[in-house]
Symmetry: D2
Subunit: 450 residues, 4 copies
């Protein structure tokens, strides 16, 4: 909430945003977190997990809208549909949303809809907006983003091969996608699909396009949902879907053929900050559960409460430091994005993308360890959180890809720093001469052994 905003950014948060932040915090803690197990119970078991919409979500959505908490993710100034928060301000809210499973959807800020709405708002034409953006922003439908493919290394997006062939006024799509998150939801009515429209284009970054595909278009088969560790994430789900001669009106093409890379790059920046801040929230919640456990008077191995045992308070302290550092890294990216836009913020976003999930996994795993058996089970939110966040080290490119890019980027300074250091050494030589001194070196008077 607003009282906990780090010193470093508190001046940059508007009174309106502070108010909204307090509302979000209260809504999450008092309404959403208690509702999470109700959501799970309403989802049910077995096959029925995939065939209905749990009513608690709509109740919460109604409450949220009444509170004015709706679509806060849409960045200020970029879109007329935005409620007017900066990336920093929404980032602070997203931390709270990340503490609850249902919260993001309740305020219509859930992935992948957020990214898809940004794509449509930023790149869609008016007809596309009217047909798809409007119901998404109203929370009437949901959507999926179909990019990753099972048969190639799609962490390098140039490898994506679902084919999109123009035939008259239509595009014909053939291929397979997986990790199509959200595709399990019965309300998921539209897919934003990335595919190869011109395999022979000499620029590999212009071979790909993004097109809008209604989920009920003939030729689409949902084969199954992928599990995450043992969780199926129903009804949302992570779809494995095939396209066989799927025909889509050419007017569904977003921005124009060959502009797929342009679109996905614009899509990823803010989304990564949202993910990162939600992840910070999850880590904070894990720390809170851990604090509860280590102070539980009924759990006293060897006659001491857990908090009195060896390493436990050190785990708490390290978690505190690591979360605080990770949060500042994300907020710094958010502020820079607010000031200079996503392109200028690539480094900072990549830093957050890599640092935050690893931090949160470490914190959550400590909490699991403090809980013992309960930690890995359904009796705490910890195991599920861990599994969800573990995927963030892979989603939108594995850590290693981002580290390579960061490394290459930093290494561009190589020539400049070399020249600087060489210059400094030359200056040293001049100074040594000028002052008539010589560097002392051990053994410099030995000369040779005779």
């Amino acid at each position: 909430m607003s009282a906990k905003i780090p010193a470093l950014v508190v001046d940059r948060v508007s009174p309106k945003a502070k108010q909204a932040l307090d509302l979000v915090a209260k809504f999450v803690e008092e309404e959403c977190i208690p509702a999470d197990p109700v959501l799970e119970a309403q989802i049910g078991s077995g096959e029925s997990r995939w065939d209905h919409h749990p009513p608690i979500v709509d109740e919460l959505k109604a409450k949220a809208r009444k509170l004015g908490l709706w679509n806060m993710f849409l960045p200020k100034g970029h879109y007329k549909e935005s409620p007017g928060y900066t990336n920093l301000e929404y980032g602070l809210m997203a931390e709270w949303l990340g503490k609850s499973r249902v919260a993001s959807e309740a305020v219509n800020c859930a992935a992948p809809d957020t990214g898809n709405m940004e794509v449509l708002a930023k790149y869609g034409n008016e007809a596309q907006k009217a047909k798809w953006l409007k119901p998404l922003m109203e929370g009437e439908i949901r959507s999926a983003f179909l990019m990753t493919e099972p048969d190639v290394a799609s962490s390098d997006a140039t490898n994506i091969q679902l084919s999109m062939k123009r035939e008259g006024n239509e595009y014909v799509l053939n291929g397979s996608k997986w990790w199509s998150s959200g595709a399990g939801d019965p309300r998921c009515s539209v897919y934003i699909v990335m595919g190869k429209s011109d395999a022979s284009h000499k620029d590999p970054y212009q071979q790909q396009s993004v097109i809008i595909v209604p989920a009920n278009t003939p030729g689409i088969t949902i084969h199954r949902m992928l599990s995450v560790y043992g969780y199926d994430d129903a009804p949302h789900g992570h779809g494995h879907i095939s396209f066989k001669n799927v025909r889509v009106p050419a007017s569904n093409m977003v921005l124009g053929e060959g502009r797929g890379f342009e679109i996905i790059q614009g899509r990823l920046g803010p989304g990564r900050i949202h993910h990162a801040m939600r992840t910070i929230g999850a880590a904070e919640r894990a720390l809170e559960w851990m604090l509860m456990r280590i102070n539980d008077p009924s759990k006293t191995p060897f006659k001491k409460q857990l908090r009195e045992h060896g390493v436990i308070l050190e785990w708490v302290a390290k978690s505190r430091i690591e979360i605080d550092a990770a949060r500042l890294i994300v907020l710094n990216a958010a502020v820079k994005m607010d000031d200079l836009g996503p392109k200028a913020t690539l480094k900072e976003i990549a830093e957050a993308k890599v640092l935050v999930p690893q931090t949160a996994l470490t914190v959550i795993d400590r909490a699991v360890q403090a809980f013992g058996g309960a930690g890995v089970s359904q009796d705490t939110p910890l195991a599920n959180m861990w599994a969800q966040i573990r995927t963030l080290r892979l989603a939108d490119g594995p850590d290693e890809v981002h580290l390579q890019q960061l490394g290459r980027n930093e290494n561009k300074r190589g020539k400049e720093v070399t020249q600087k250091i060489v210059g400094q050494k030359q200056k040293t030589e001049q100074l040594l001469k000028q002052h008539s001194v010589k560097k002392y070196e051990p053994g410099m008077n030995i000369k040779a052994r005779m």
Copy 2:
């Protein structure tokens, strides 16, 4: 297999054991691993996961018995029922068993039956053996070990509070247990139960007893099964069970009232080595899957196979080193247990208990990362392996308890090493005098600033 036995122990493995090891390896790789998904398919979905016995298990058991692979876990010489392998020899076999989900049961070496059979073979009387040990050793029934409780910190076993009250020729049991692994299996007909028979005994290590409880005794309720990172582990399961006035014949008491600690301590040593060696096998299998992935010619992000990318071969190399070191730690414990018995081997067992799961988790997580999305999903064995092994950092006492004990044990040398070092310093002073030299200290001639 026998060709891969580490140099350090190869001389200590009998020809018979080498032959059995080769058979185990072949059986696991060619029969069990391919059968694992069949087992999962036969278990099915929804409620039915808990109500039947998958037939593939019995097919494999028949094959294994024909090959002479049965009950190899029972240590040589300790029990007349033993097939005659040392802990070292069975340890080498257990590594292979750990690569497959079904393998341990197929050769009747699955936990918790192994520990329970050891308890009955070591501490049971003839009647108990005839009634329970025999069918377990024949693989006709299964069993569970009920020790952990939900309401106390049972990592300190003195906290266990399920009450066992003698009334006439019966004990009456009241209380709750959880993490009763195997209790979900419809064939699980007997529980070995730890509980408090004399809460007022002045020695807290004599308050607990172990008693045999038929699973169908009235008053027992199985409430649910605990999940492990989303996996239910059906039909085996991890039961949450309550006892309400459960009456058991007094003749079911094992070894005698108040001897519970003696029994569980004897039970844990070899079991920890089994777990550790199976875990090594899982880590080896994860490494193999990783090797498959990084050499997959269809997965070429940024025009290179994964094996050509940055850190991947370093992950492979580190995994190789870490697995090899962890294996030697376990084998050293097994050899010492063979030579000097479990009591003399507490340190070595604790070392294995702590080191091996952490090593395997690291290796498996690298493999997950190399696979990307497939790594966390049902399409590789990795995510499930990781979840299973994560529990080993908690089961039979969390790492931290074992580290504290190891630390305290090592610290017993404190006085002795202090005396030695003090003596060495005195000798140095004598020598300095004797040789008329003085230690040079920087700045020793400054004396004071005037």
Copy 3:
């Protein structure tokens, strides 16, 4: 320099401070770093390392004063002697100072003088200020802070036992100190000494006092200087000093008898931020040297430059992330200290105290590894930097003490979060009833095995 100020704080840096920051950066890179080996050469070898003052320091001091770079450490508003920079602003400058050995002294911002000047400015009376603060602020003399003792665990300052007994108008001091950094310098003319003035005071936090002791007072013996991984740090040095009936005028007592704790606590906050920011600067310099090395065309093991090898760019990237996160942690502490004072900032300072040295050591060690043999030798600044910074994990209290305090502090939320979570669980139960749903649990329909 000012162009590199993180987005998060750039608005809080005044134009004057930006200008000064640019001057500092230029002065360090162009004057100080080239002068560092000259300083070392002027210090010389053998005994003479302790007996003279290297003239390059005074040349640089003259240049710095001309540039207006002098005493920037003294926080704005707190002292009339301050040049008017905030902790944030000086922190940004200190990062640059940390890149050079001589820089801090050249701008009269070197420890331990900075802390000692703060003590005198904050707690000294006018006579004390005139006699000691003035020449220190003019850079005419140097000082040492004598707190740590060889014979006790002085990380807990209540253990400090150098005795201060009042006799008439004097205090008589007896005892030993070590790690008296700066005491080797021939210009070091004054010691700020912590000792026990009233061992029988019932409040252990009022037993200690701080007194000013001229370095040439009879009874003081400098026994030797302690080395740091082989470095003697001459002529500065880390003194091991004894006091035998050292008599000091009672008017030298700072603030009053028994107020030692109050003084040292006020002293440590800003100093820790200075240390931390200098350490960030050292890490940045190590990264620059590493970039030079990995792009050196003459160093091509296995036909590739180092930057093309496996893990090297990942080391660069991780170093970038870790340094950036650590810097934000320090800046956040600086800002909070500016806004709310040191007492409100204890948590943030402790976070910086723990995180920054560990981060820098990791980065520097990677650079050492990239350099091979040159990295551990006198041919790069890396080994010396590493050794200096390694002491920061011990100085002003070892990491573990700070982690315990942070942990205890965070744990104070234990009760509050427990209540919150318990409340959330109760709300869940209400909601489940209200919506007439029941949590699904695996195996919940088994009931019992019959």
Copy 4:
């Protein structure tokens, strides 16, 4: 000593070796460790550190010879000069030698002489043996091995470029070497030099030769000694040496022109095991000092001894586990080398080369941290040990080179394991058909959203 030999190898140690091991242990603890500070005192300060031989060494050598402890490193059976110990047996002794600075030299088992003696014993002709091997084995002279060069990336030995040109009956050497360890010693009379004798040979592994160079040959200049962190390692030293038209008789060529690689590969295997076992010894000694410190009754921060504080016993326990695992890795390599020779043991040696120094550095750094200021200073052996062992991560190739080789080697199994796993998957498909079951997949009945 013999009572502490790990269970895994105790059967492979001969009674004679056990006896020698006990003698070594006693000699190191009672004679060598107390003599280490005497050695340092006799070395003295300033320039004189390089000009004389400390007499304590010769006293100890005399004692050692009397005890029969001499040249134990020379492996059994390989050379007639060997005292007859296996690599395993000498490895166990080397652990003790590693606890003291002077011990290895006292028993004539000090690097680089050991490797040089092996080269001469294995590859030298009779004349070379008579002239150089004999006095080395008698401990009359010392030697250096000149391989690493300052101007190239000599971790890839094909880059070595000191030129050796045949002119008549002589070779003429030109070039530079550094990290020529031992070259500072006034008794160092011979260099074993690696250089390029045929830069145009098409096989880069036949361009290099190894030649014997008397240290007093004209044209050799010792420029200086390299420091390790702040230690100069006098009088041994790490020389930076140049060769200008240095003329050596052609009969000094070892084994023949172009056979340099063959020689250095034979040289490195056992040497790495020696280094590794000495490093284990250093780690054990660090752990002993740590045990002394944490039980020191005069060091009680916050009213508790260090051993009672938070993480300390966990540090002890982890150190115990890590040292034990690392030792087993080395002993496994030693046993395999004994059984199958160095070529078959490349993997095991590389594992030891990488794992052991990192382990020891971790253990020593924990001990430093436990000691506080004393840990980094001259008052404990810890800081010096750390610095020495830090170089082992670079010497004989940095960790990263060995990890790459290990990774590549392990990756050779890629094809084989892929075929195995593919085969297992095919078998699974057959079994599923045969048993008429289908894998259950979550969401498999969704098909498509209409």
